[in-house]
């Protein structure tokens, strides 16, 4: 009786370990996928190209708001100022979310763009960027 009980316990333990390892594997894959999609380099490129395309289709006196909440989280993690993430010099947009070189992309519309991070009543960043086209 004692032997039989012990064997059953062994099978259960093996199965539990097997299931736990499978779950660990699946969660690792899911985490990897999620982290890849929101990594700084991918987001830098996405934001720079998005802003360049917005600039290309914009006309003077337009004010455009861009949601950059994901970028704000990354800059907070990297202890960088969110207000200095996006820069427009001439007709080149540059976005920098970490200590790296950032990402630059040019637009062809010959307009002046003023860009700044939006702040709320408490003077904290809202995660939005504002583009003023002149």
């Amino acid at each position: 009786m004692y032997k039989k009980g012990n064997k059953k316990g062994e099978i259960l333990t093996e199965n539990i370990i097997f299931i736990i390892l499978n779950l660990i594997f699946l969660s690792a894959v899911v985490l990897f996928l999620l982290r890849q999609g929101s990594s700084a380099s991918v987001l830098e490129q996405t934001y720079a190209k998005e802003i360049a395309m917005i600039a290309d289709s914009a006309k003077p006196i337009m004010i455009i708001k861009i949601d950059m909440e994901k970028g704000k989280k990354i800059t907070e993690k990297n202890k960088l100022d969110f207000g200095e993430v996006v820069n427009v010099e001439g007709n080149v947009v540059s976005v920098k979310l970490d200590e790296g070189r950032g990402y630059e992309y040019a637009f062809f519309n010959d307009v002046d763009i003023e860009v700044y991070a939006e702040r709320d009543d408490k003077n904290e960043y809202t995660g939005m960027y504002i583009l003023t086209i002149n």
């Binding site: 594997f25 996928l33 490129q45 289709s57 080149v92 630059e104 040019a106 519309n109 010959d110």
Partner: protein, 191 residues
Amino acid sequence: MNKNKNFLMFNLLKKDQRGTDKILSMYWFAILVIIAGGVFAMVYNFYGAPYDIRESESSLLANRIADCVSQNGKINPDFFSEGNFNSEIEKNILEECTLNFNVEKGYQNVPQYFFEIEFYKPEDLSAGVFSISEGNLNWKTDCLIKKENNKEYERTVKCTERRLYALDSGNNQYLIKILSGVGKSEKNVKN
């Protein structure tokens, strides 16, 4: 004796079965490792390749030129001088259409954009009456290459063609063909 033999056989079978289970588990983990490798390779390949926005850019460029050439169905009067097409407009077409073809540092040696505007009389579409072009016109022939799903095609310029009808100040009708293209393959195609 028989009883002992049966007992041995039972134990051997049991041991064999447990061994098979362990081997199966090992195979299962080997499969998981292969799947993980596959997922990693695919994700790395997907996110490693830049987003290709050149088709959208060339479309935006064509729209911007169309807005510059014609507004409300009338050709921009700056394109005419004393009743004829103004040949001087080509010199300052970028300023006229508020375009700036400068690009990022490191990509300035070759112009990364081009466009061509051709005016036709509706009664004779074989020969244009006036044309304006700007940028890297060497890429114009690449616009004619048919789409093929290969690396070479991916690296060629992405083009957009627009056609519209508009009237001049004397209500003469013109067909206007606009062809625009964007290179920038280094920033939009994986090397």
